[in-house]
């Protein structure tokens, strides 16, 4: 809607010198707006990506002398990583962690948002309390968890007192529980994210279809599934996709709390890459691993982006139809 109105497109067919200089000025203006981004790409991102490529095909670690004359070894490292069962398990753990916590965040977030989307007394207070977990620093979440989850700690104590049954899982040292513990932390930490997105969605969807269905005598259950959920599809997908991607990158909590342990129970992809690079100092293997993970993530992200593009369009359409919020001065 915008380009033509302001600028270049008004240039007449036979360009007068004035129009030419104007167009040039506009091009200069556009370029200078983009300059910082181009500079960042050229001086930070590109060198880093090239270095990463270099290290993934050269054998180098910190005690091997200067990195620029490391031995070229081709794709050996990629082969090594792809046949490394530990890497495979890290992929599985990451996917399991991301899927589980995304679903958890979403279910609770949606439930809360649904209960909150119509005004009621005390709404503002609940809203504030519900978003607090999102506003804690991830490292702080990890240490708080440590203070609460030891076997005779407050969480088990509270549950024991409330239920009257001895409840003593060792959240932090049982290898079967550890990944679940991190997932639960992630759910505690980020349910507010799904909550605020779903709440924004629920309050923004048009009221007329719901009212129409009510008049026609549809039950709440049917209205929910057949009117609200379809209208909410873009928001739902947004909440799922963004959360999943963030969960794939989760590092601070997993690392601060477990350092990959007990055993290798919480060795997700970020943790394993971190350990390979900064504990075993296998820089090259870490780089090859990073490359594979990056490619994997690019595939996932490209898929996610396609989804987001489609859903953003229907979201924008929805905001155009309902009166879109204006800037608050």
């Amino acid at each position: 809607m915008t380009v033509a109105a302001l600028s270049a497109a008004e240039a007449p067919l036979q360009a007068s010198p004035r129009a030419v200089s104007r167009r040039r000025a506009i091009r200069r203006f556009k370029l200078s707006l983009l300059a910082p981004l181009i500079a960042l790409f050229a001086f930070v991102l590109m060198p880093v990506l090239l270095l990463q490529l270099y290290f993934s095909v050269h054998q180098w670690t910190v005690y091997l002398g200067s990195w620029w004359d490391a031995d070229y070894i081709g794709l050996d490292l990629f082969k090594e990583v792809l046949t490394d069962p530990r890497f495979g398990w890290a992929v599985v753990r990451s996917l399991a962690f991301a899927t589980g916590s995304t679903i958890g965040c979403f279910v609770f977030g949606f439930l809360l948002a649904y209960l909150m989307h119509k005004p009621f007394r005390g709404q503002a207070i609940y809203y504030i309390i519900f978003i607090l977990p999102m506003l804690t620093v991830p490292v702080v979440v990890a240490y708080t968890a440590e203070m609460m989850l030891y076997q005779s700690g407050p969480l088990n104590d509270v549950i024991t007192r409330l239920s009257g049954i001895e409840f003593k899982p060792s959240w932090l040292s049982d290898p079967h529980l550890a990944l679940m513990t991190v997932s639960l932390l992630e759910i505690w930490n980020w349910t507010p994210f799904s909550f605020i997105i779903m709440l924004a969605g629920l309050t923004a969807i048009p009221k007329e279809p719901i009212e129409a269905a009510e008049i026609l005598g549809a039950s709440k259950w049917r209205i929910f599934w057949e009117v609200q959920v379809p209208l909410l599809r873009p928001v739902i997908l947004l909440a799922l996709v963004l959360r999943f991607l963030e969960a794939m990158a989760e590092f601070p909590k997993t690392w601060s709390l477990f350092q990959g342990g007990p055993g290798s129970a919480t060795e997700t992809l970020p943790v394993y890459i971190f350990m390979t690079t900064w504990q075993y100092f296998e820089i090259s293997k870490g780089a090859a691993m990073s490359y594979i993970v990056m490619l994997l993530m690019i595939v996932i992200v490209l898929f996610a982006i396609r989804l987001l593009r489609r859903e953003k369009r229907s979201l924008d359409k929805m905001y155009e139809q309902t009166d879109s919020p204006k800037v608050e001065a």
Binding site: L33, L135, S256, T277, V301
Partner: protein, 293 residues
């Protein structure tokens, strides 16, 4: 079922309050726990049964961690030498500067995209990759690159990466605000002979200033709490608060929960204040401006 409509409504409302309150307690209990632990004496940090209230509450943890107060430094748990204050300074400088850069240049790019389409829709989505690819995949080459060009362990180095990684949020979020500004204003300015730069800085950006503040505070939340990049790029000369907190973990054998809690509360409270100020804009921020409210 013989129930009148008002009865049913009262039950629904009651159920709602119960569910919301249960979740509210679950959401708040860990926060309460870390705050209360920060006021506990060292014998109550790790006791059985746990102390649910600090009795008596003490400021020893805060005095020792933040101010290195001598009278609290005699115990075996005294590990502070006032370093958190330096980290606080680092964190503040790094978070504020990188956020400022991100919002300044991000809003300019956003303006260009909104009015001149300097980035196509596809490019805009590709920009999101900067945020969606886990940063762990570039930290090793990044740290070697920084070592080579002398940016390792410097504030500027960290500022630069934060600038890069938060730029997608800045561009997308400010664009969602700029899109809401009617074009007529700018056309009027153009007719009156204002230069393009003046139009951006004196007309458009002031019009969305509340949006810019929201974007600034939102990105501040991200840069303030970032952990992985700070852990790798900053080592000894420069530490940010989250890294300072994690050092308490490694440096001692015993559990120093009270001290950690005092530090953690100091790190988290500013974040919560900022977050609550922009609570209406959080959905827009986290969804890259796609969801509005």
């Amino acid at each position: 079922m013989a129930m009148t409509k008002s009865q049913r409504r009262r039950i629904t409302s009651g159920v709602r309050y119960v569910v919301l309150s249960v979740w509210g307690l679950m959401a708040f209990f860990p926060i309460y726990w870390i705050i209360s632990t920060s006021f506990k004496l060292d014998t109550q940090w790790f006791a059985w049964p746990p102390y649910y209230f600090p009795s008596p509450p003490t400021l020893a943890n805060y005095m020792n961690v933040w101010f290195g107060a001598e009278e609290y430094a005699q115990t075996q748990y005294a590990i502070s030498s006032q370093k958190p204050l330096i980290s606080l300074y680092n964190s503040t400088v790094i978070a504020v500067t990188s956020t400022f850069l991100s919002v300044l240049f991000g809003s300019m790019i956003a303006y260009g995209v909104s009015r001149y389409r300097i980035l196509s829709e596809a490019r805009m989505f590709q920009l999101l990759m900067l945020r969606m690819i886990p940063p762990i995949v570039i930290v090793a080459p990044l740290s070697l690159y920084y070592t080579a060009i002398g940016l390792i362990d410097t504030r500027f180095g960290l500022i630069l990466v934060y600038f890069l990684t938060t730029l997608p949020y800045a561009v997308w979020m400010t664009k969602s605000f700029i899109d809401e500004v009617p074009l007529e204003v700018e056309q009027a300015a153009e007719i009156l002979g204002a230069s393009r730069w003046r139009t951006v800085f004196e007309i458009v950006l002031p019009l969305i200033r509340s949006g810019l503040v929201a974007t600034f505070l939102f990105i501040l939340i991200l840069t303030w709490s970032e952990y992985l990049l700070a852990l790798i790029i900053t080592k000894t000369q420069v530490t940010t608060l989250p890294i300072e907190l994690s050092k308490y973990q490694g440096s001692t054998e015993g559990r120093v929960y009270g001290r950690q809690a005092a530090l953690a509360v100091g790190i988290t409270v500013p974040l919560m204040i900022v977050g609550l100020i922009i609570r209406k804009h959080l959905a827009r921020g986290f969804s890259f401006g796609m969801v509005r409210r």
